[in-house]
Amino acid sequence: MADVHLRHINKCFGPIEVIPDIELEIPHGSFTVLVGPSGCGKSTLLRMIAGLEKPTSGAIEIGGTDVTGFEPSARGISMVFQSYALYPHMTVAQNIDFGLRLMKMPTSEREERVKDAAKRLHLEPLLDRKPSELSGGQRQRVAIGRSIVRNPKVFLFDEPLSNLDAALRTQMRVELAELHQSIGATMVYVTHDQVEAMTLADQIVVMNAGRIEQVGPPMELYDNPQTEFVAAFIGSPKMNLLPGQAIGRDDIKSVGIRPEHLETHMENGKWAARAGVIENLGSDTVVYMETDDFGSVTVRLPGHHPLRTGDRVFLTPDEKHLHLFGKDGRKIHAKDALSAPAT
């Protein structure tokens, strides 16, 4: 078993407290994605699991063993870095092999494992090249190869795809998902890209300012965000957050409605608006609108749509999908949400 438990983790850099108190459980075999804006402490958390940073207080358990005081190499983890951190003076084979040599593994077994990893990641023709002779995607695969040969209990990824171009990123995302399915090991993945989080994860941890906002499967976070922050962070285009007055509630901070849960009518509806920029994506159309009273709103309409910039329309939200957030930014549960009168 290789579940990861973080118990009351606190981390300070000098006088600055980056992580006040985190309690997190990462189940065995899960693909857990830590997601949040820059500086929210997600990378620090990952580096503490790796053993590259020591927590100021608290304990880290991997597979039931307290590894807080262990060296990274003794924790049964491996890590893929954002910049790949390949060893520039070694060939691909030596890069993959390096950790095994340090483990004093017999040559035959080492060769076997390197061959295996190279085959799995389509690196066989590149084994004798230096990292400088590889493309971005190939380097990334070498970095992943370096981590899988060690058969770690837990894989750690620190924004591994952020240096790749968009097309390659999509491809590598699929490869990572396949890798997780075939290996079945626990993976912890840090990113600030919520699309990566939604597509890869079976558990997402949304972090903000050193705190965990919400933990759950991607669809739960999408359908049922517990805080205003999660609501705004998960989903693309972003959820619309309007002031409470939009649904006649002055006692709440904001009301959220996803772009696909807004209907447009030309004659009547709840909110009057004017269409601004229109993005035709083929499968659907995203329209950025300006309402008369509550600021800008994004609407996603299915398929092609005849709407043109400057058109006057009325918007009606699907009331089943309204998310109400109280003054503290937390969700107010739906049963009392619909009592508001229409304006």
Partner: protein, 276 residues
């Protein structure tokens, strides 16, 4: 447009030629002087010799003492280079990798060595070396030379090492590689430009050093070439042609070493120049 660039290039080449001639002329005069008679050296120092006399070069090359001096110089210089590179790189590695209490002060202290004139130190150095009992041995030259080379070495090494990406160490650390192994397996192999730069500086300085061997070495067996050169300087006559032939033959290794490492020196110096 093209005539303008041509003129600019012409100017550039002219200036370069003038500067190069400042460097080459003395070297050429030295090399040619070895073929001339003493009288001819006085009358035409820079001209081609009237007749090419190989006897002075031959005499020096066939003198076993010359090879002895050369061997001594080579041994001392190479050991000084190795020692400076090892100690300097190890010290700089610590300064670059590990933050510890007093590291900045210690570093500044080591840099003070840059401002310390060698000649001032010669008397206390002599007394110290005598007290340790190293006088008249190779080490009496190697150790002080290493010590005086360290300031520059540590300064250049630290700047270079700091530019190695931090994630490289972290990746190796996760793979199970500690600080010391990382130094041997990563820092040194990835720092060849700066190692070559410092190596050449130390080598040339040690090779050409006159004062220190003069003070420390007494027996002819241990003489380095600058001391050996003095044998042609009599009380009344100085045999300039022999001296020049001797110098030509002895600076050859330094020039060859410099040319071989030249490519790295430029890279090493500009690499260190970005951050002071």
């Amino acid at each position: 447009m093209t005539s303008k660039t041509f003129l600019r290039n012409l100017l550039r080449v002219t200036i370069l030629c003038v500067i190069a001639s400042f460097v080459i002329a003395p070297l050429l005069a030295t090399a040619l002087g070895g073929f001339k008679t003493n009288a001819e050296i006085r009358t035409s120092a820079f001209g081609l010799p009237e007749s090419w006399n190989f006897e002075f070069y031959n005499a020096i090359a066939s003198d076993p003492a010359f090879w002895r001096y050369l061997g001594n110089s080579l041994l001392i210089s190479v050991l000084a280079v190795i020692l400076t590179l090892l100690v300097g790189a190890a010290a700089a590695y610590v300064f670059a990798q590990i933050r510890f209490f007093g590291s900045r002060m210690l570093f500044s202290y080591l840099l003070l060595g840059l401002m310390f004139p060698f000649a001032t130190a010669i008397l206390p150095l002599f007394i110290q070396v005598r007290d340790i009992g190293l006088l008249d041995s190779y080490w009496s030259v190697i150790l002080p030379q290493t010590a005086f080379g360290l300031s520059l070495a540590i300064l250049l090494f630290r700047t270079f090492f700091e530019q190695l990406p931090r994630e490289l160490f972290e990746a190796a650390y996760v793979d199970g590689c500690g600080y010391i192994r990382f130094f041997w397996r990563f820092t040194l192999p990835l720092s060849t430009p700066i190692l070559a730069t410092v190596g050449v500086f130390v080598f040339v300085q040690s090779w050409n050093n006159f004062l220190l061997p003069l003070v420390m070495l007494n027996s002819r067996e241990a003489f380095t070439w600058p001391l050996g050169m003095m044998q042609f300087r009599g009380e009344f006559v100085t045999e300039w042609n022999r001296t020049l032939a001797f110098v030509t033959l002895t600076i050859m290794p330094a020039i060859v070493f410099f040319l071989a490492a030249q490519k790295y020196i430029v890279a090493g110096l500009t690499g260190g120049a970005v951050k002071g």
